[in-house]
Amino acid sequence: MNHQHYYVPEQSHWPIVAAFALFFLAAGTAHTIIHGQPLLLIIGLGAIAYLFVGWFGEVIRENQAGLLDNDQVDRSFRLGMGWFIFSEVMFFAAFFGALFYIRHFSVPWLAGEGAKGISHMLWPAFEASWPVMSPPDSARFPGPEETVDPWHLPFINTLLLVSSSITLTIAHHALKKGHRAVVIAWMFVTVALGVSFLVVQGYEYHEAYTQMGLTLHAGVYGATFFILTGFHGMHVTLGTIILIVMLSRILRGHFSARRHFGFEASAWYWHFVDVVWLGLFIFVYVL
């Protein structure tokens, strides 16, 4: 009866630090929004940074010490990451669901179509269109003047993100074969593609706000547009940071050709972010 010993970590102070950090982040964000004083938030952000460096640093050390070199532990990590991504999928599903509901139910109803079309009585001037250019109450929610053309910047971004998924996969294969120099090169490319994506998106937002009148305020189209692309953008930002960390770990000689779950997990995450973008490109920009 020879079982590998499952690694149960010793006591750790990181979880309680994390709980504090999250509390300050949450309460601090609310405090900033309501009272305009960012002190708590700054403490929270600082604590989060400290936490990430510290906790992940510890896991990396354990990893380097071989404590996690155990199939069962490895499976736990895989399950953990996989189901975490599933929960992220559900998070985005909520926003996509809202988008579908608004397009297929609330906007047509307000404009007099479908089962609750009688609601049109309240908004006699409103006409259904997607994107909604003049919301039912345009005094409170002035609609956008123009919307983003999918075949310009967004299309470029699609190319950027899809190719970054490909370059990342090339890097992964190289890692499995142990060709470190190749890994490093392709990781650089991937990170560069990720960063370019963010730059392009930043530019697009800037144009939307300054030239198109497309804002969070611009009625329900602006709301769905910015929330969906914005949360995606936050995920790309996080993914890029993770990839940069992976790159630096590779530069330091971490990961073996056989075991490199940290790398794989970030690749999973990146591919997930890529797939979400494809959904966005189709449902937010094109259709």
Binding site: W109, L110, K116, I118, S119, M121, L122, W123, P136, D137, A139, R140
Partner: protein
Amino acid sequence: MVELNLTKGYWLFIALYLVVPQVSADLKYNMPVGVTEVSHAVHSLHMTIFWICVAIAVIVFGVMFWSIFHHRKSRGAKAAQFHENTLVEIIWTLIPLVILVAMAVPATATLIKMYDTSDADVDIQITGYQWKWHYKYVNDDIEFFSTLSTPADQIKNEAPKDTNYLLEVDQPLVLPVGKKVRFLVTSNDVIHSWWVPDLAVKRDAIPGFINEAWTKIERSGTYRGQCAELCGKDHGFMPIVVEAKSEQEYSAWVANKQAEKEAAKQAAAASATKEWSHDELMAEGEKVYARICAACHQPTGMGIPSVFPALKGSPVATGNVQEHINIVLHGRPGTAMQAFAQQLSTTELAAVITYERNAWDNNTGDTVLPQAIQAVLDKQ
């Protein structure tokens, strides 16, 4: 009673449940049978399903208590070894399924009937406000607000409570008997729900959308209901009273109401030309304030911090008069502060604004006349 409860409290209640609804049909223990075809259908659905559940309960709990009693270790029971039987599993999957289908059939029929709002004789637009109802007779050009009329001292336990405590309003909704009435339900602020049990009508009032419902009342009488969706502080205090009248009485009422409207117009014109003194306006304003505004801004004018602003010392109520008039006439869209231009007469508006500018040490000394309000209204 208490003694019984200790031993078989639960079964006592079951017994009550079984017996009482039969004896005192639509009194206070069961769903009312109501006065429309739909409400009869709903009631009979309710009772059917209830009895089916009772029957299942008797069988299932019967077997269970029988086992508990007879298969006790203390009575020498030895445990049997069986622990699986696919056939019974299938049987007790299928039987409930059949029962459910049997329930679904009448339910579907009733629902379809409830959704058929076509061919209505009378259209009423119902709008929920924080904390009153507005009724508009679409075909007859009549509209009015309907507000709780129970006096505050009854609520505060300072006076004995009347029979219709919390279920009485200043102006009931009057409907004709035997006519199909269509309701167009909406809201001005948050979600409310318009519910009269005797009509079996409950529809949520969604701001910005209209929901349809209908009824055809069989018997004249007074039917009471309440707002059924949490809508803020005074959700418990926005009742609904429907008065169903025979067709002639209803027509008479409509005619009377229209005449009243004319009279009110003339009175308003008269008051608009009348010379109102400051003190008269203050006295009138105090009444209007207590009736309409105090629910939010509180009788003390102190409001509720961060929810309803204080008017005492408020920059609006002590500052520019035009701005004060504007906010009272048009409200602030997207907040609880509603537009009062349609709800109050020019005199009432002038009075309440005058009152707010001088009560609670606001002492601006301003007097706002109905003519000033009329001027603002005319400009639009």
